[in-house]
Structures are given as structure tokens and as C-alpha cells.
């Protein structure tokens, strides 16, 4: 292992990691927004939109991100829509993540027994109040684990962005292997970079999951979840 080499090229990895994180941040933010909108459409069963949202969710969940990116990056310019690598990456990530987030929120709300809505109604609450005071707090608690898993999943998915000429971590690693044949060092730094990004996120998610378990309805033993 050539540590001089590692020291020399660490800044390259740092900037690549920064890029990966920036894209992931915007992609995830957009996918949360899309997910919330889609889940609301599905929960309130808005006529035409439900069909569109269902179609979108199926398409986005059943195709690989890589193929979505290829279509966005190489296909769309042929009909005049030219996206930069960054826009393309964020769009792709939001397209993929939106459906996963939508499902997370929807199952969170649907897991709440119907009887709670009925009880709310019989107490004289309005639809909005029921949503605000009964459904939402519980839905947030139950969908946090899935939500966290989705965030980690989406950050991991950013590793394919090198395919659309974005200078992310994979791109840098591949470059260094190609130019200097320093396979060990390049791969070592690649693994370390991903660990540095993902371990804190994963640890934070575990903490968060433990916290929100207390809020789960009818959960007498919050720690074990049984």
C-alpha cells in the first residue's frame, strides 16, 4: 500500500464525495417531495391522478436506475432535451426515489387501523384534524424505518452516476486504476469514502428508529419492538 499516493489523491476523493453527497441531497429532497405528493394522491384517491401515480410507481420501481439514466442522458437529447450530467443524475435519482418514498409514506398511513379514523370522526374532528392529529404522527413513526432504508438505498444508488460522465467516487477510482495501475490504493480509498459517508447515516438511522418506536401505537415494549 502506497500511502504517499493515498495522501496525494485524497483531495480528489474528497471533492468526488462532496459531489456525490450534493447530488444525493438534492435527489433525496426531490424524491421526498414527489413521494409525499404521490402518497397523498393515493390516499385521497384523486380520480385521474391515481392512475398516473400508480403507473409512475410501477415503472420507476421495475426498472434499474442505470437504464433510466442512459435513457435520460443519451436518449432524450435526440428529441432536443439536453440535460447536463448533474441534472440528469438528480432527475434520475428523484424519479427512482419518488416511488420508494411514496410507498413508504402510504404504507405508514395505511397501517393505522380504520377504527382510529372512525373514532376521530365520532369525536367530531374534521378530516384535516384527523389527518393532522391522529394519522400523521403515527404515520411518521411507522414509516421512519423504511424511510431511512430508502435514504441509504438512494445514496448507494448514486454509485452508478459515473456512467453518465459525472466525476463521482467510482469515476475517480476507475480513473486512478486506469492511469496509475494503483488498484489497491484506489479501491481502498473508494471503500473508505463510502464507509465514511454511509456509516454515520446508518448509525443515525438506527438511533432515529429507536427513538420513534416509542411513539408506535400499542407498543408495550418499545426496545424489542414486540
Amino acid at each position: 500500500m502506497d500511502f504517499e499516493f493515498i495522501r496525494a489523491y485524497a483531495p480528489l476523493y474528497a471533492s468526488a464525495a462532496g459531489l456525490t453527497l450534493t447530488i444525493a441531497f438534492f435527489g433525496i429532497l426531490l424524491s421526498v417531495v414527489i413521494g409525499l405528493l404521490c402518497s397523498l394522491v393515493k390516499i385521497f384517491k384523486i380520480p385521474v391522478l391515481t392512475v398516473i401515480v400508480n403507473g409512475y410507481i410501477e415503472i420507476s420501481r421495475n426498472t434499474p436506475l442505470l437504464i433510466q439514466l442512459f435513457f435520460l442522458y443519451f436518449g432524450l437529447p435526440k428529441i432536443g432535451i439536453v440535460l447536463s450530467s448533474e441534472t440528469c443524475a438528480i432527475t434520475g435519482l428523484a424519479f427512482l426515489g419518488g416511488s420508494y418514498m411514496a410507498e413508504a409514506f402510504r404504507t405508514g398511513i395505511e397501517q393505522i387501523p380504520k377504527i382510529q379514523t372512525d373514532s376521530g370522526l365520532s369525536l367530531g374532528m374534521t378530516g384535516l384534524q384527523i389527518f393532522r392529529f391522529i394519522l400523521l404522527p403515527q404515520a411518521i413513526a411507522t414509516s421512519v424505518p423504511v424511510f431511512c432504508a430508502n435514504i441509504i438505498f438512494l445514496i448507494k444508488e448514486t454509485s452508478v452516476f459515473s456512467a453518465v460522465a459525472l466525476a463521482d467516487l467510482m469515476f475517480v477510482a476507475k480513473d486512478l486504476i486506469g492511469i496509475y495501475y494503483k488498484t489497491d490504493e484506489a479501491l481502498f480509498m473508494l471503500v473508505i469514502s463510502y464507509l465514511l459517508i454511509l456509516l454515520p447515516v446508518s448509525a443515525f438511522c438506527t438511533l432515529l428508529e429507536r427513538r420513534v418506536r416509542y411513539a408506535e401505537f400499542g407498543n408495550s415494549n418499545p426496545v424489542s419492538g414486540k
Binding site: 415503472i59 442512459f70 435513457f71 473508494l190
Partner: protein, 225 residues
């Protein structure tokens, strides 16, 4: 122009070539899935062990696999093995190794949660009826586990199919590569080929994955009722 573009798919045997290309990555997915199911069943049973040390190592393996992007694992094996073990793995072999490694962990976790979701009294009633340990597993636990596993196993299969699309990045000639060949070959005659070719590849993946995820959803619903 529009008509010209879509023509590219029906020129010669282009459409067939794309399917053959997709089959290359599907084959990798199916092989990895087969190994993952076999090894994952074993791993899942090991994971339910009460030994702290065993549990710790299982957890470590699962978390390692979960936290690393599959593409990074692919790179590690594809480039790393060539250098250290002095074996020149083809992209396909590296892919099967990595996806089995990944799939086993995921499958193991599914098996574990299915096993643990079966109430203790099922075991106890079995023992009370005079079954041995093997008898309890064979006649009571495994049939119930498999029923619970089927939907999540199908979901894992679609994930596997989606993940094998990554192999193009380590130089396996599969559907995207074939698509690129078609696009490059007709660069001058059909300038907007990329749109159609990538569009069709997109739809092809959907056509393969959708039935499985639909079946998984239906099974899941049937199981819950």
C-alpha cells in the same frame, strides 16, 4: 424522422439481438439467485442461533454487504481479484460471485425474519406432539416459512435483475452494450437511434420485472387475508 427512428429496431435482427443481450444479464441474475437461495436458507438458519458470537458475525456480514454499494463490491472483486489472487475473472464470473455474496446476505435476513415470525408455540406444540427437532422443522416450520418467504423472495429476484444491469460497467457484453453497438453502427443513417434503443431497453427491463413484482404483491395480499 419519427418513423425513421423506430425502424432501427426492426432492421436486420436488432430486436432479437437486444433480447439476447438482456438474456445475458438475466442469466447472471438467475444463477446468482439460485445460489443465493440455497446459501441464504442456510445463512438464515445460522442467523437465528442463540450464540452471541455467531450472531455478531452474521450481523457484521449482513451490515457490510448492506452498506457497500453493489457496484463497489463489483469493482473490488473484478479489479482486486485480478491483482491479488492472480486470477483473471471474467466480468460474468465476478458478477455471479458478488451478487451471490450480496443475495445470500439479503436472503438470509429474509429467512431469519420469516423463521422468527413463527410463534414459539408452534415449536412447542410440535415437541408436545412428540416430533423431534428435524420433524418440527420438516412438517411445521419450513412449510409455513416458505409461504411467508415467497413474496419477499420474488421482490429480491426483481432487485437482483435490476442490479445485474450494473455488469455493463465491468465490461460484460449485455443489453446496453448491444444497444450501443446498434446505435454506433447506425450513427449516420439513423441519428436518433439512441432514443429508441434506450427506450426499448427501458421497456424490456420493465416487462421482465413487472410480472414478478406484481406476483409478489398479489401473493403478499393473499397471505395477509
Amino acid at each position: 424522422m419519427q418513423n425513421l427512428g423506430i425502424q432501427i429496431l426492426f432492421q436486420g435482427n436488432n430486436f432479437l439481438r437486444l433480447w439476447v443481450g438482456l438474456w445475458v444479464s438475466l442469466k447472471l441474475a438467475v444463477i446468482s439467485m439460485f445460489f443465493s437461495i440455497c446459501l441464504g436458507m442456510l445463512f438464515g438458519m445460522v442467523m437465528t442461533s442463540t450464540n452471541k458470537l455467531v450472531r455478531f458475525f452474521c450481523r457484521l456480514y449482513l451490515e457490510t454487504v448492506r452498506i457497500m454499494p453493489q457496484l463497489v463490491l463489483l469493482f473490488l472483486v473484478y479489479f482486486g481479484a485480478a491483482k491479488h489472487l492472480n486470477v483473471n475473472l471474467s466480468g460474468g464470473t465476478a458478477a455471479v460471485l458478488v451478487f451471490t455474496f450480496w443475495g445470500t446476505a439479503e436472503m438470509g435476513d429474509l429467512v431469519r425474519s420469516a423463521l422468527e415470525s413463527i410463534p414459539v408455540h408452534q415449536y412447542q406444540s410440535g415437541y408436545a406432539l412428540g416430533f423431534g427437532k428435524i420433524g418440527v422443522y420438516r412438517h411445521i416450520i419450513i412449510p409455513q416459512t416458505i409461504r411467508r418467504l415467497l413474496p419477499s423472495m420474488m421482490n429480491l429476484l426483481t432487485r437482483m435483475v435490476k442490479t445485474t444491469s450494473l455488469v455493463v460497467l465491468i465490461g460484460v457484453i449485455e443489453v446496453v452494450k448491444v444497444g450501443k453497438q446498434i446505435i454506433d453502427a447506425s450513427r449516420y443513417t439513423v441519428p436518433d437511434a439512441a432514443l429508441w434503443v434506450y427506450g426499448v431497453i427501458f421497456i424490456m427491463y420493465f416487462a421482465v420485472c413487472y410480472p414478478f413484482s406484481r406476483a409478489a404483491a398479489l401473493l403478499d395480499k393473499k397471505l395477509r387475508d
